[in-house]
């Protein structure tokens, strides 16, 4: 366990002390961690100098695990206990996982999220991902010989709410303080925008191992505005492997991929992946795999590969055109297209982009690393290490959010491509006379029918006073925060009686579930849960004291002497609680009291900030 830092009695640590903040690209096939060092973002290598960590976890006899390269190497012989591409199962039920029959796992279709039965018990994608995240966290802590203050974790832009929530849960399980979830293409744009100094309207084409995103961004002097985004969270390099593998099996007159044993299937897919990668550099390659004890040797050329996979590339083109339409721009308006993700090394993909946009795509940054690098830059800014005002991300929500209404129809409340954070309220009413409760069903997607959208959450609003049908006014408010996560509340306004409820999407884990997983011998769990939560409360208290003190230093003049004394007393109480209270709740209560007591101060500071921003504009205009 890393040691706690203790400053001299009565002295706060230097508020400008650098905080270790990392960016993590949690990918389908591999993951990376990056950080800003000496003003430059760089990916952190492991002790053997490798920056890429394969997203693979193997569960061993006796409760041990292999993570990364070792797990991947053992995949052929122990496919059932080696979970790869877990990102495909994030926040997903079994029925949502396309082609799960082709995967070598024993799936457990449990409520909430699909699990994989391993020799160490049933594991969800959240637990598998937490192992990967924890490994990267330890790598960063070893590199800096210090605690990680927080992390920015990237998700595909097209991830829905359940998938985002699951990612955040995994990070929490890995003991990471999530500064922000950001979208992968946006992270790539940050890296390109700052490193290459590009400005104007740019498309980011991000084809990873298991996900595809396309985002259209307007870049200008540190402002990264996402205009529109689209994609498919179940389309990636893995699918290219499967198409090629199927084509090869067919040509050899063998049974289909689905009919093979798990081990055979894994080997054919691995052979197909190697052929795919080789064909990015050469025109023809030989492939060898074993089925039913017979070794098959085949030659495959680039044309055969392109034909077998052309449908997939065409799908990505169709999704780009929809994004252009959403943004009301044409391909000629786009100044450049940035290629991200290992799968963009495929020549057919690059040619398709060059044809659509009429210019060669930008490939000057390493497509594997660029997302992690952008995340690291944003993490550094969020941790307060960079000069403020350097970087502003204005991202959007990828999918429309709405409610089920009569007849199983969707009423959209927040439209896709709305800039986040955003909130919108809509009023609904009762259907029957005397109706005292209302079922609220929250869905996400673009289709008209509820059955064709993703169900995110259901809750009931009770205690509506009996009235004739149509008289009640129930205001449902949707809010999407800066992480792209949704919360929904409902209240009855008509009668003055208010009832409100806030829901978390069905796929999100409760705090108890996360605590339960930690207790179940999770790799990163510290032996003593109580000590861990006390420590977290103390760290949080310290953070709040520092934040309040720097706010007072900057804008203390906004407070009267009395107001100042009140805030000082609240700070003193937090400091005393963090020092003396042996249990987290007392510290949390003091922190919450400080938060409430400084609400007015925060509002006044914001006011000053807004007016300065407007005044700055007026000065610039003159």
């Amino acid at each position: 366990m890393p040691l706690l830092q203790i400053s001299e009695p009565g002295q706060a640590p230097d508020p400008h002390q650098r905080r270790i903040a990392v960016g993590i690209d949690l990918g389908t096939t591999h993951s990376l961690v990056a950080a800003v060092r000496h003003g430059v973002a760089e990916c952190l290598p492991d002790d053997q100098g490798r920056v890429i960590l394969p997203s693979a976890v193997r569960y061993l006899e006796g409760g041990g695990r292999q993570i990364g390269h070792d797990a991947l190497a053992a995949q052929g012989e122990d496919a059932e206990n080696t979970v790869v591409s877990a990102k495909r199962f994030m926040g997903r039920a079994l029925a949502d996982v396309a082609g799960y029959q082709r995967l070598p796992y024993q799936f457990v279709d449990q409520p909430g999220m699909v699990g994989v039965r391993t020799r160490d018990g049933v594991k969800t994608a959240v637990e598998v991902s937490a192992e990967i995240l924890a490994t990267l966290r330890f790598r960063a802590e070893d590199t800096f010989d210090d605690d990680v203050h927080g992390a920015v974790i990237t998700v595909p832009a097209y991830f829905d709410d359940a998938q985002r929530q699951a990612t955040k849960d995994a990070a929490q399980l890995a003991g990471l303080n999530v500064l922000r979830l950001i979208n992968e293409p946006t992270a790539a744009a940050i890296a390109y925008g700052l490193d290459q100094g590009v400005e104007g309207l740019y498309a980011v084409y991000d084809l990873g191992g298991g996900t595809f995103d396309v985002s259209l961004l307007r870049l200008a002097r540190g402002v990264f505005e996402v205009v529109a985004t689209g994609g498919d969270s179940a389309l990636g390099g893995d699918d290219y492997d499967q198409r090629l593998a199927s084509a090869l099996l067919q040509r050899a007159g063998l049974k289909s991929l689905e009919a093979l044993t798990p081990r055979e299937r894994r080997r054919v897919l691995t052979a197909a992946r190697h052929a795919k990668e080789a064909l990015s550099g050469i025109d023809e390659v030989s492939v060898s795999f074993e089925v039913d004890g017979v070794v098959h040797d085949l030659d495959v050329d680039r044309t055969e590969f392109d034909v077998a996979t052309s449908e997939l590339t065409a799908t990505t083109l169709r999704l780009i055109k929809r994004v252009l339409r959403d943004a009301k721009v044409s391909a000629e308006d786009v100044q450049g297209v940035v290629m991200v993700g290992g799968s963009t090394r495929m020549p057919a993909v690059r040619e398709a982009m060059a044809t659509l946009f009429g210019k060669p795509p930008l490939t000057n940054l390493n497509p594997d690393e660029v997302v992690a690098l952008g995340a690291a830059i944003q993490a550094n800014a969020l941790a307060g290490n960079a000069a403020s005002g350097d970087l502003l991300l204005l991202d959007v929500t990828p999918l429309s959010l709405g409610l089920e209404t009569m007849g199983g129809l969707v009423e959209r409340v927040i439209e896709r491509n709305s800039t986040i954070p955003t909130a919108k309220a809509q009023d609904f009413t009762t259907f029957k006379d005397g109706q005292t409760a209302m079922a609220v069903h929250v869905v996400q997607g673009e289709r008209e029918l509820v059955s064709e959208c993703r169900s995110l959450a259901r809750f009931e609003l009770r205690g509506i006073p009996p009235m004739v049908a149509g008289a009640a006014r129930i205001r449902v408010t949707f809010q999407v925060d800066a992480d792209g996560l949704l919360s929904v509340s409902a209240k009855e306004l008509g009668s003055g009686v208010e009832a409100a409820i806030v829901v978390k999407p069905s796929y999100g884990l409760t705090d108890e579930q996360v605590a339960g997983m930690l207790k179940d011998g999770f790799a990163t769990a510290e032996s003593d849960m109580a000590a861990r939560s006390l420590r977290e409360a103390q760290v949080d208290a310290e953070r709040m004291i520092l934040a309040t003190e720097s706010a007072l230093a900057a804008d203390g003049d906004l407070l009267s002497a009395d107001e100042r004394a009140t805030v000082d007393a609240l700070v003193a109480r937090v400091r005393a609680a963090a020092r003396d209270a042996g249990e987290p709740r007392a510290i949390e209560a003091a922190v919450e009291a400080l938060a409430e007591g400084t609400e007015g101060f925060a509002a006044a500071r914001m006011n000053r900030g807004i007016r300065d921003a407007l005044a700055g504009r007026n000065v610039n205009e003159l």
Binding site: R180, R325, A423, D481, A595, A602, I610, A613, L614, R617
Partner: protein, 177 residues
């Protein structure tokens, strides 16, 4: 503490823009980014929970105002509501006969269009009609000494039908591609 700007100010006040229909979009955009630069939650990631809550409220309010001011139809509807002219979008569906005829013709054309080119041509026609109506809306609001807000609300209601139809066209384009 000085009250200054509040979440309750109108969209126009918040963006320091004159309360009228015609708008300087470049200035709107620049102001939006300036305001978000001051208010976005990312700016307050290391601050107190209170500061983060306030930042979230402001960022949401700024985005709401920006979205409304940017879209001509939403902007016109907002001006109506500021002047007490309720759009009655749900209850008032009475539209002039010629307008309804036009709508029916368009809907027929859409259901008969089987090629992307045919849908595109229809889309262009509808967009041109929409632009013309927006021009007349600008004259109705900014050009008149005393604005007939009820008449403006009627024009806005008509445009809402047109916008709905345009999103149906977009869906058809999605289906055809």
């Amino acid at each position: 503490m000085d009250a200054g700007l509040s979440l309750q100010h109108t969209d126009f006040e918040l963006f320091g823009l004159p309360e009228r229909f015609a708008i300087d979009l470049a200035r709107l955009d620049a102001t939006w980014k300036q305001l978000q630069g001051a208010a976005h939650p990312d700016r307050f990631a290391t601050e107190t929970a209170a500061a983060q809550r306030v930042a979230m409220q402001w960022a949401i309010r700024i985005n709401e105002a920006y979205r409304r001011l940017k879209d001509p139809l939403a902007r016109a509807a907002y001006l109506c509501s500021l002047h007490g002219a309720d759009l009655e979008a749900e209850s008032n569906t009475a539209m002039p006969g010629a307008f309804l005829m036009q709508q029916m013709e368009w809907r027929d054309a859409l259901s008969e269009a089987t090629s992307l080119d045919a849908v595109d041509a229809l889309s262009d026609e509808v967009a041109a009609s929409r632009d013309a109506t927006l021009k007349s809306l600008q004259a109705q609001i900014d050009g008149a000494a005393s604005v007939d807000w009820r008449a403006v609300a009627g024009t806005v209601r008509g445009l809402m039908f047109v916008d709905k139809f345009m999103s149906d066209i977009d869906r058809r384009v999605d289906a055809l591609q």
